[in-house]
């Protein structure tokens, strides 16, 4: 059985590397991109992405919150994990089935969530 694929969206290279290693170590395949536009390009090209793990604050006009809303709208089956150094903005409804982690996050909790979503 092929490994489930997780798309990591994070503009900070060090944090992207960290998230990629963490998720790969847990037995998943990772594709990593630095912004939302690149993420959407991947999603439009491939149909095998199961989970998107995205940062919120990113350059390029589409932040992680908008990206998550777009994914929920265009690719409903994909699971979404959102992470940020800021608190979740008040008054904004998180997309259905999405999970939010404040940064820095506990690796074991993120991995538990990914495993549950992939199951």
């Amino acid at each position: 059985m092929p490994k489930p694929i997780v798309l990591v969206v994070e503009d900070e290279p060090l944090l992207r590397l960290f998230a990629t290693d963490m998720i790969e170590d847990a037995g998943f395949e990772v594709i990593d991109v630095p912004d939302s536009a690149a993420a959407i390009a991947i999603l439009e090209r491939r149909t095998d992405i199961r989970i998107v793990f995205t940062d919120v604050d990113m350059p390029g006009g589409i932040d992680g919150i908008k990206l998550a809303a777009c994914i929920r709208d265009r690719w409903p089956p994909i699971e979404i994990i959102i992470t940020s150094g800021k608190a979740w903005p008040t008054g904004v409804k998180p997309p259905e089935r999405s999970v939010f982690f404040s940064k820095p996050y506990r690796q074991d909790r993120v991995i538990d969530t990914i495993q549950r979503m992939a199951a």
């Binding site: 900070e12 060090l14 944090l15 590397l17 290693d21 800021k86 608190a87 940064k103 996050y105 506990r106």
Partner: protein
């Protein structure tokens, strides 16, 4: 003003004496207004007022002298007056001015006869009429002072009320709305509101104004130029006071712009900041209105208070944004530390120390979250405890109880690290490592050697039998540093469970 006030005995007495002394059937105290004269007291006449163009009293009023017309039907100034040629047939008139101490002349005390008096009044009558007019003026003055001081007291009370509501407001909108409401009520006007102006003071954006019942709101963006030559005053920071938009030179050119939105008189009071007009307090009246000096002073004071209130809220907002930004960067920095540590320690086979490190970082981050919510002021002990326990887990087996305690930023961070060590220790070796074990953390404040002291008591129960560790690890040393960095920690490895008492003076906790 004394216009339209009920009759009073003192004024009635004066007109009665005047009529007797001057042997005239009619005597009046006539107060002059823009469009009419109104009789404060009268004998021998059955009307309370007449249009101003029928007034004899107003003739030569600015001279401030006794006016005597021995035959009104023969004088060119009065021979067409309806009161003279009509059935009332006034013939003789003598009136002494009512002069206030300020020099303002408000009307006349006059006597009227239906017979002409070619010889006029005798000297005694003239002196008497003058003396009675001074009496009447004094009464008017006293009434005016009494009314004005009553008004000042009323406005003072409103100002206090406004000051309080400004202090208690959390945002500019709330502040200006309640202020407008109070202004509207106390000045009895049609509309009151507040608007921020753009940089060159050409437009004003009025938010939620207050209006009297039946008066439309003018909330929205307006251009000053559309309402007359009013912009320059406001830009210079001068109050714009208009008693009648029809006659005021600044609005007379196009009074319909004002009248279309129900304004006949107005006060616009600029609110300044650093030498610039940043906002305008607007007060509109639906009838012509003479704004009293005390009312204008009141509005000036309100504008000053609003100015202070607006800067306070702006300062707070700015601080909040700055705090949010600093916090965001700090959290990103903690994430970077976590990433670097994780990458650096990747090759280490024993994952325990790596996990320990990461979890301590989490505890620090959790305390930081609580502090950010409180704007880096005091964090509550309970809130910090909840946040730290959440990062570790097992919250359902830890009972917390105690009063609200304010922790300063440093104390909050120390406490988060200490609690984290106690929690992880309990999870690995203590009460939380087996079924049925639980922890109580109870805190209280009491007096210890004259100092208000916080004591936090950590009690583990129901775990395996405890033996003291042979070596002091970093964790237990971290705990012994204490809440404010000066110890005050009693850590005991009782066989029934770990116990710890943490002590610190409440004053130090809040300052640290």
């Amino acid at each position: 003003m004394v216009l339209d006030t009920p009759e009073e005995q003192a004024f009635d007495d004066i007109v009665f004496i005047a009529s007797q002394a001057c042997d005239a059937p009619i005597a009046l105290i006539s107060l002059l207004d823009n469009d009419r004269q109104w009789f404060k007291a009268r004998v021998g006449l059955d009307v309370a007022e007449t249009p101003i163009d029928q007034s004899v009293c107003r003739i030569d009023i600015e001279d401030g002298d006794l006016l005597e017309v021995v035959d009104l039907s023969q004088d060119h100034r009065t021979n067409a007056n309806p009161l003279v040629i009509g059935e009332r047939a006034f013939r003789f008139y003598a009136g002494a001015p009512l002069k206030l101490r300020s020099g303002e002349i408000v009307g006349r005390l006059c006597v009227i006869d239906t017979e002409a008096r070619p010889g006029g009044m005798n000297e005694t009558q003239k002196v008497l009429l003058g003396a009675l007019a001074r009496q009447a003026s004094d009464h008017l003055e006293l009434r005016r002072i009494a009314r004005s001081s009553e008004r000042i007291a009323e406005l003072q009370t409103a100002l206090v009320e406004i000051g309080e509501s400004i202090r208690n407001s959390a945002d500019v909108g709330e502040m200006t709305h309640t202020t407008s409401q109070i202004i509207g009520r106390v000045l009895d006007v049609a509309r009151a509101g507040f608007g921020m102006v753009d940089d060159d003071v050409r437009h004003i954006t009025i938010e939620r104004d207050w209006t009297a019942p039946g008066v439309a709101s003018i909330a929205g963006r307006h251009q000053f130029e559309d309402y007359g030559a009013i912009r320059d005053h406001l830009a210079r920071g001068e109050p714009l006071v208009i008693e009648d938009v029809l006659t005021d030179e600044r609005t007379a050119g196009n009074p319909t712009a004002m009248r279309d939105i129900g304004i006949e008189a107005l006060v616009n009071m600029p609110v300044r900041q650093e030498g610039r007009t940043i906002a305008v307090l607007i007060v509109n009246a639906a009838t012509r209105r003479i704004w009293l000096p005390e009312e204008l002073t009141f509005l000036r004071n309100v504008a000053d208070r609003l100015e202070a209130g607006v800067s306070r809220i702006r300062g707070e907002l700015q601080q909040e944004m700055l705090n949010g930004e600093i916090s965001h960067r700090l959290k990103n920095m903690l994430s970077m530390v976590q990433a670097i540590a994780s990458q650096t320690l990747r090759e280490i086979v024993d994952r325990k120390p790596v996990e320990n490190f990461e979890q301590r970082l989490m505890a620090l981050s959790a305390a930081h979250d609580v502090l950010v919510q409180k704007q880096w002021a005091d964090a509550d002990l309970r809130a910090v405890a909840d946040a730290v326990i959440e990062t570790v887990g097992f919250g359902d087996r830890v009972r917390l109880d105690g009063p609200a305690v304010a922790l300063g930023p440093r104390a909050a961070l120390s406490f988060s690290l200490i609690l984290h060590e106690l929690m992880t220790n309990a999870c690995k070796y203590g009460a939380l490592c087996q079924e049925g074990g639980h922890v109580e953390m109870i805190w209280s404040i009491g007096d210890e050697s004259g100092q208000e002291t916080l004591v936090v008591r950590w009690r583990e129960r129901g775990g395996p039998t405890v033996t003291a560790p042979t070596r002091r690890g970093f964790g237990s040393r971290l705990i012994r540093i204490g809440l404010v960095g000066t110890g005050g920690v009693d850590l005991r490895y009782e066989p029934t469970g770990v116990e710890a008492d943490l002590r610190a003076s409440v004053r130090h906790l809040a300052q640290a």
